[in-house]
């Protein structure tokens, strides 16, 4: 039975004088604050934070948490997001003393275990990508893109070249053009071919001596491997540009093929996706990048190096700023807590395990696609990789059922919705990524639910979901008159 008070706002629980955390009295001689801090800098009023007890806080947020669907409780086939199982050992081990409590400015000699872990992570990411130089700094994929683009810019400037354009296909994630714009490049969007791949003719038409970088997701956002990637890379290289691989879809190709081997010069990982970060209700992510050797000296710093000839009283692992570094893109060293989890995951799986991840992710996606093909057509491609993009376009024109209706109704059947309306190149897109950590039984049940839904009364579906605590929030009202906090501005 759901607690009916669950969605009361925390602030409404506040009563003057309630305490959730108590602190000891000062054990040092206390002076009037006015003697320590100029009066003009001291607040005259207390903050407007609420006054609640610890049990208020726990009950409130635990109840709220139960309003979420999550990987621990539900199949969550959200395309492009790789919602795989988050191993519990990661939470325990990443919280060990000596890992979770290290301060970023400690003496390097006292951090050798952490440096070793991060160095090994760099090495494994280099091997998996086929790109030898790694920076762990970027906080997320989007920052990885930005960082790599700046690295490319520095490289070209160092060569005395001024290249101004970044190219990407129209199926690209929104972060690609956004990152390129913030890195100061002009954005050029290319068409996709009928098959949903990079249109070679359009690429050729746009490549010139102003082209700095071609950004491509491979496998692409339609879940298809860019089979001409080698030729694409050659074309870009012939024009003097660099190839950036958006690694959002690495889950499909671990140990099977490597960006460095298929022509990529730079890439980012999404540790929170591929290496089960976890997603944390929207973050934190971690977006380390890997690049070719000739780009290494431009990477943001510091990077971790191993001193192979260190004597007994020297540190084996040291921090180093690359010679022509673009500088810093964030404070400290990276989203270490997430990188530690990535390390744990890689050490749990090993080479064989990683390959099995991709094989099973691709198997699950193709299986689901196959058993749904009579009811949910997939416009592009025969075999998909780790995800597929179906279109509800035909269904919509037949009986008015939209991708949104299907997504919402799936919630009633106890399945999280797939990604809908992305990529933009597929009308009424339904993007399904089952991941490898789901069983055939789950996939069968999901397919069955979809079949049932597609036979339901469209009018009923327009009003779905019917079992959640809310239904179809009015986003127009929200956007016209934004209410972004619950208290009156003071």
């Amino acid at each position: 039975m759901r607690n009916q008070l669950a969605t009361e706002l925390l602030f409404s629980l506040s009563q003057p004088g309630r305490r959730g955390a108590l602190y000891p009295a000062a054990d040092v001689p206390v002076k009037p604050l006015e003697e320590l801090i100029p009066k003009s800098a001291l607040a005259t009023e207390p903050t407007g934070l609420p006054e609640v007890t610890e049990s208020d806080v726990i009950r409130h947020f635990v109840n709220l948490s139960t309003l979420n669907m999550c990987v621990d409780t539900h199949f969550y086939p959200l395309g492009s997001c790789t919602m795989k199982y988050n191993p519990k050992r990661h939470e325990r081990l990443a919280s060990l003393p000596g890992i979770v409590d290290l301060h970023p400015y400690q003496n390097p000699s006292d951090l050798q275990g952490m440096f070793e872990l991060l160095y090994e992570t760099q090495e494994m990411l280099a091997e998996i990508s086929g790109l030898p130089a790694v920076s762990l700094q970027p906080a997320a994929g989007a920052q990885g893109e930005f960082t790599a683009l700046l690295t490319a810019k520095a490289y070209f400037e160092d060569r005395g070249e001024k290249r101004t354009k970044v190219l990407f296909p129209n199926s690209a994630h929104g972060t690609n053009p956004a990152s390129a714009a913030i890195a100061g490049f002009d954005c050029v969007q290319l068409a996709s071919s009928k098959a949903g791949l990079v249109d070679l003719e359009d690429l050729k038409a746009h490549l010139d001596d102003q082209t700095a970088v071609f950004m491509v997701t491979n496998p692409n956002t339609l879940g298809l491997f860019e089979k001409d990637i080698k030729q694409i890379a050659q074309m870009v290289h012939d024009a003097g540009g660099l190839v950036y691989i958006d690694g959002a879809n690495m889950n499909a190709i671990l140990g099977i093929t490597r960006p460095g081997d298929f022509g990529g010069d730079m890439m980012h990982y999404n540790v929170h996706k591929t290496f089960t970060g976890p997603h944390g209700a929207g973050g934190p992510g971690s977006g380390p990048i890997a690049v070719r050797d000739f780009l290494a000296e431009f990477l943001p710093g510091p990077v971790i190096k191993r001193n192979e000839t260190a004597s007994a009283d020297e540190d084996r692992y040291v921090l180093e700023m690359p010679a022509k570094s673009i500088g810093r893109v964030r404070t400290f060293y990276g989203n270490i807590g997430i990188l530690v989890r990535g390390y744990l995951y890689l050490r749990t799986l090993g080479a064989k395990g990683l390959k099995a991840v991709s094989e099973n992710a691709v198997l699950n996606a193709n299986y689901l696609k196959a058993i749904l093909k009579d009811v949910l057509p997939v416009p592009n491609g025969d075999l998909c990789m780790h995800e597929f993009v179906a279109s509800a376009s035909k269904i919509k024109s037949q009986n008015g059922i939209t991708a949104m209706d299907i997504a919402k109704r799936l919630l009633d059947f106890g399945f999280h919705a797939p990604t809908v309306y992305f990529p933009l190149v597929v009308p009424e897109a339904i993007m399904v990524e089952p991941t490898e950590t789901e069983s055939k039984e789950t996939l069968d049940a999901f397919a069955e639910a979809l079949r049932t839904i597609l036979k339901e009364d469209p009018a009923f579906l327009h009003l779905a979901p019917h079992s959640t605590n809310i239904c179809r929030p009015d986003e127009v009202v929200a956007a016209r008159n934004p209410i972004l906090q619950c208290c009156e501005p003071q």
Partner: protein, 451 residues
């Protein structure tokens, strides 16, 4: 194999349904010459037991606060984290969920982030807060970008030289290649001189970035500096210490247009520098120029109050190259930690944490400065919980001696490049004191350093 489900028999069934005869055949679209025809060269797999032993060994090679008292600062602090914070953040319903794109399946996250935004507004006195950015440093560059959009001045920003040197580096990385001039006002005595700031500003400047308390722990003339920014039609961007707002005037009270912070102090462990929490709040009139996710209140089909991702048209997945930022993810789980932390400490607790830190820091400063050869670098400056000492024998000597006695101080200022700072900074060492430190610890440090 861990985390996989399908038995070999099921795999065969599935392959059959697909119409291929092997797993290998599923990858037919990848040209053969691009395949990696060898196993990845990475260390062998470990079972959970082996992994735990391995990581424990690595952890043992580090020296953590378990064996040393942490008086380190410089933007990351050892404040106390109540157990309830971990309890909530460890709930799979939060940490194994994704960005709340499907509102009906995500009201838990959405309401929590809405309350996070509300709590940050209450803490800062600002009108609106987003649902978080990466961390404190990139919050500065995002604020500068936003100020450029708001003022339509894209060529110049002014930053105080007392800003965290890493924040300055980040801004330079982000802005200089866009042909935006990054002007740093010199700071050679622990604080900037407002007259120098006034001289550095002009009517082409998008914003003035102030850190208060600043990197050296000392207090700037925040209100006066804000007024100077406004005099030139620039936005006043203030980077604050969230704990300090338990006793200091709030950015919203002295006219900040954008208030940003590193939010790690609000319930997130040090974890070697990340993930942390970028706090970002501003005046309501700039809301459509804000970066990052925003949660809004609305009603559902049946008129019930609920929460949604709001004003998404600002963001990269819709606006693409014209987005207000390239940021997609935020720091959801860390924002949840901060929401729980601020709820727990509440109105009275935040004041106590701030006051305890401030009182103990002043006691420590007083005691340390009585040691021969150790001086406060800026004895005339007011500070909050962090201060700079200099040692006649050099920073390394001081740090080493403290470590031997079981204390970590720092960071030493020589770690950083101060482009517009005094040469004397090189001998300085930061000392940060939180509410967790005790008189006994401080006295013990002083005794050891005297010896």
């Amino acid at each position: 194999m861990p985390y996989l489900f399908n038995t070999p028999e099921q795999q065969q069934e599935m392959l059959q349904a697909i119409g291929v005869d092997s797993l290998e055949a599923l990858f037919a679209t990848i040209p053969a010459e691009l395949r990696l025809n060898r196993p990845l060269d990475i260390p062998p797999a470990l079972t959970e037991m082996e992994l735990q032993a391995h990581v424990s060994q690595l952890a043992a090679k580090n020296v953590g606060p378990g064996s040393r008292v942490c008086m380190l600062g410089g933007g990351a602090y050892d404040h106390f984290i109540p157990a309830a914070v971990d309890e909530i953040a460890r709930r799979g319903e939060f940490y194994t969920a994704y960005t709340p794109y499907q509102a009906e399946a995500s009201q838990g996250s959405l309401q929590t982030f809405f309350e996070f935004q509300s709590l940050i507004c209450q803490l800062t006195g600002m009108d609106v807060s987003n649902a978080s950015l990466y961390e404190g440093g990139t919050s500065v560059s995002e604020a500068a970008f936003m100020a450029m959009r708001v003022t339509n001045r894209h060529d110049r920003v002014v930053l105080l030289g007392s800003l965290h040197p890493e924040y300055l580096q980040i801004v330079e990385t982000y802005l200089t290649h866009l042909n935006c001039e990054v002007v740093v006002v010199p700071c050679d005595n622990g604080c900037v001189d407002p007259a120098d700031v006034d001289a550095a500003m002009n009517d082409q400047t998008a914003c003035l970035v102030i850190q208060h308390p600043n990197f050296f722990g000392t207090l700037e003339e925040a209100e006066q500096l804000t007024e100077i920014a406004h005099k030139y039609g620039a936005l006043a961007v203030v980077s604050y210490d969230p704990i300090s707002l338990g006793i200091l005037t709030r950015p919203g009270d002295y006219g900040a247009d954008i208030a940003i912070a590193e939010g790690q102090s609000l319930g997130t462990p040090l974890q070697f520098g990340g993930p942390y929490l970028g706090l970002f709040s501003c005046s309501e009139k700039f809301v459509r120029k804000m970066p990052g996710r925003l949660i809004g209140q609305t009603v559902d089909r049946n008129g019930k109050r609920c929460f949604v991702l709001n004003l998404q048209a600002r963001e990269q997945h819709i606006r693409r190259d014209k987005a207000t930022s390239n940021i997609c993810s935020n720091q959801g789980l860390i924002a949840i930690r901060a929401a729980v932390y601020l709820s727990l400490v509440g109105k009275q607790g935040i004041r106590e944490v701030a006051e305890l830190s401030c009182q103990k820091a002043h006691y420590a400063a007083e005691q340390l400065s009585q040691i021969e050869g150790i001086d406060l670098m800026f004895p005339d400056r007011a500070f909050f919980k962090e201060f700079v000492v200099s040692c006649s024998e050099g920073a390394d000597y001081l740090l080493r001696k403290a470590r031997q006695a079981g204390f970590d101080l720092g960071p030493e200022l020589s770690r950083f490049e101060f482009k517009n700072g005094a040469e004397t900074y090189r001998t300085g060492v930061l000392v940060a004191i939180t509410e967790q430190r005790t008189r006994e610890e401080i006295d013990r440090l002083v005794t050891a350093l005297k010896a």
